[in-house]
Symmetry: C2
Subunit: 155 residues, 2 copies
């Protein structure tokens, strides 16, 4: 049976700024990313996204807007890895003083891409700010360790 | 490991009309429904939706717009059942003369809800025609054979 891994990411926006986490090297995949993580069964995708923002930032978000799916399929390991992406500008609460995943930073949206980021997040970031939804589908060759197909559909 | 089953549905629209399948009793879940079916690994969700419309109707659809997720979680059987829903008004080709899943019928959108339909499709149908996307999350109690929670989020 194909292993299906499901994650969420939710960008929190306050006016011109977006909240990012500066993920340190020791955690792997270092650089600035949005809050998010694994969807726990039996929660919904939106419930998972809200919980992850709470755990990683301290903020209580609501009114999430679905922005799209970023997924890869890996035939060698028979795995589908899916990230469901949301955005919101509705939140309450204060930022955690000791955030578990890395330093929290409000960054100007237009300047964010100048920060160090993993390539997969750098590619996805602008899609959050376009109208409609996206669906990115990557076919990953785990023998050659490279993407052999990449399609972005916009709706 | 939680079993995750992924399906698509795609409504094809031509002006005032939508293409439905009149699913016969012998197939189970009889009544009018939209074309769709299981997502095959490693195809993308959109690829799956396009293939299912082709197999069940003969039409070649494109420019799909994502409308939302209809899912249920079943803790007793440790299963998540997800249907990803699309709509399009772009298609080519002719309807199959011997469609495999049931008679094909162009139905006026405003009259469609008068047709016999499974309740889960009747509830979902109007959401295809609203702006934005939806996320319906149902918690299913497989012992009592009933939904114990149902949340529809609109984005």
């Amino acid at each position: 049976m194909t292993k299906i891994s499901m994650y969420t990411m939710c960008l929190v926006v306050d006016g011109e700024n977006v909240l990012l986490i500066n993920r340190p090297s020791e955690k792997g995949f270092p650089g600035y990313i949005g809050p998010g993580g694994k969807v726990d069964f039996p929660e919904s995708l939106t419930e998972g996204a809200i919980r992850e923002v709470r755990e990683e930032t301290g903020l209580e978000v609501s009114d999430l807007v679905y922005k799209g799916l970023d997924e890869y399929v890996d035939e060698i390991n028979d795995e589908r890895y899916m990230v469901f992406n949301y955005i919101t500008n509705t939140f309450k609460g204060d930022l955690l003083k000791a955030p578990p995943e890395g330093e929290l930073k409000w960054v100007t949206i237009t300047e964010a891409l100048k920060l160090p980021m993993q390539n997969w997040f750098k590619e996805r970031f602008p899609l959050f700010f376009e109208a409609g939804t996206f669906e990115k589908h990557v076919v990953w060759d785990d023998k050659e360790k490279q993407a052999v197909k990449e399609v972005i559909t916009k709706h």
